[in-house]
């Protein structure tokens, strides 16, 4: 058997474009997933607030308990039946963001709950409101502990984003498949696609290690 990478070289600009779409969709989804994760994670701190806690828990149950592909198809093929037509890219971002947000919410909740309760008590005993104490005392400490698991989530998101190629989005995976459909060189193209994903995830991992290091300087050794 002979390997022929010439279709990869010919299609290189398309693959790079696909890679940039993959990065865009991943970053946009991450932003959404962090916003959703923060809200849902904080909503699940106090089971006593029944409605908030219940709604947030139902969200986590659904998005962690069903396949991402099904969620994406529900958005992409299901919403048009209610006359809601979203661009494919938007569907991809919402789908990935909500899916990943359910995991991020657990990261957020875990990090907040890992902060010694004496911190909240000290803040409240000074007269701070719950919201102030969260914002100035608890979250700044919790965020440090969120960074490593969020890094893993970001990397998972890069890989999971390949599924949005099924929503006609021209991401890296989609561009690869287009090249295969005209060249029939599946092995070579998928090797190239895999390597580009590997570069993206490695870069992401290293960037996160850098951020983590930055956050730790300034005396915040803990």
């Amino acid at each position: 058997m002979e390997l022929d990478f010439s279709p990869v070289w010919r299609g290189w600009p398309d693959l790079l474009h696909g890679a940039s779409v993959t990065v865009e969709i991943t970053v946009a989804s991450l932003v959404l997933s962090i916003i959703v994760g923060l809200c849902v994670g904080m909503a699940r701190l106090d089971p006593g607030k029944r409605i908030l806690y219940g709604t947030a828990s139902a969200y986590v149950l659904f998005f962690r308990g069903t396949p991402l592909l099904v969620q994406l198809f529900l958005l992409f093929f299901g919403l048009p039946q209610f006359d809601i037509l979203l661009p494919a890219f938007v569907c991809g971002v919402i789908g990935l963001g909500l899916y990943s947000g359910s995991y991020v919410s657990e990261v957020v909740r875990g990090a907040i709950q890992s902060i010694d309760r004496g911190q909240m008590e000290a803040a409240r005993s000074m007269g701070m409101s719950y919201a102030h104490a969260m914002r100035y005392i608890i979250l700044p400490q919790a965020v440090l502990r969120m960074v490593p698991p969020l890094g893993n989530e970001f990397i998972a998101l890069i890989k999971n984003s390949a599924l949005v190629s099924l929503l006609t989005i021209s991401d890296l995976m989609h561009e690869g498949q287009k090249i295969i459909s005209v060249s029939y060189r599946s092995l070579e193209v998928y090797i190239a696609v895999a390597l580009i994903y590997l570069v993206l995830t490695t870069l992401a991992g290293q960037t996160l290690r850098l951020i983590e290091k930055r956050l730790r300087v300034g005396g915040m050794v803990q």
């Binding site: 004496g118 000290a122 005993s125 000074m126 007269g127 005396g219 915040m220 803990q222």
Partner: protein, 254 residues
Amino acid sequence: MTTSDIRPILEIRDLGKDFGDFNVLRDISLDVMPSQVVVVIGPSGSGKSTLLRCCNCLEVPQRGSIRICDKDLVVDGKMLPDRELNALRMQVGMVFQGFNLFPHLSVLENVSIGPRKLRGMSAKASDELALSLLDKVGLKERASAYPAQLSGGQKQRVAIARALAMEPRVMLFDEPTSALDPELVGEVLQVMKALAAEGMTMIVVTHEMGFAREVADEVLVMDGTIIEHGKPEDVFSNPKQERTRTFLKCILSH
């Protein structure tokens, strides 16, 4: 201390607190007058911490009432609404056994964050206030350090400065020296003595008998309720209750 036209800063009436089925506090009544120093002693688990934590509603007592500065903090399990509760908590400083400093903030920020965020002071004014308080507890030169870089005694002095920054009317100390190495206890007690001499109203849970003898106007012995109270010399030399005698023997033998 008790002059008829001076109102108590803290009035506790028939206080009762349960954790589930477990009755921690019962029938506690207590008046604390301005500038009075009350030392609370009692065996471990006798509800000393819980009593202090009730005084700023970190725990909510189910029965009885607590008035602070002539405001009802809690009456029969009903707390003040949040906004007023926060305002009243500013009047009540609390110092914890485990310090509970904010590790992500510098020493200066630990002290200045309260006045800046809660008392509406400018950055400059709150920094100046924080520096003067750090000076008072002997830590002005450590202003830019982080809590992790301090000894236990220094941490507790910062915690005292942090509480003072809210300009409280009364200070609650929950075993402020129990987590410290013996050689660091003195520096914290020194700060507390100075505070008492300035006329700060204080409730102090401690087993430092020397401090109690020297500074306390009144000593309370707790065991779920106040089993004995009086001047330190009376309680220590001449305890009326058998339980007090046993307890004192126990801590003095250490």
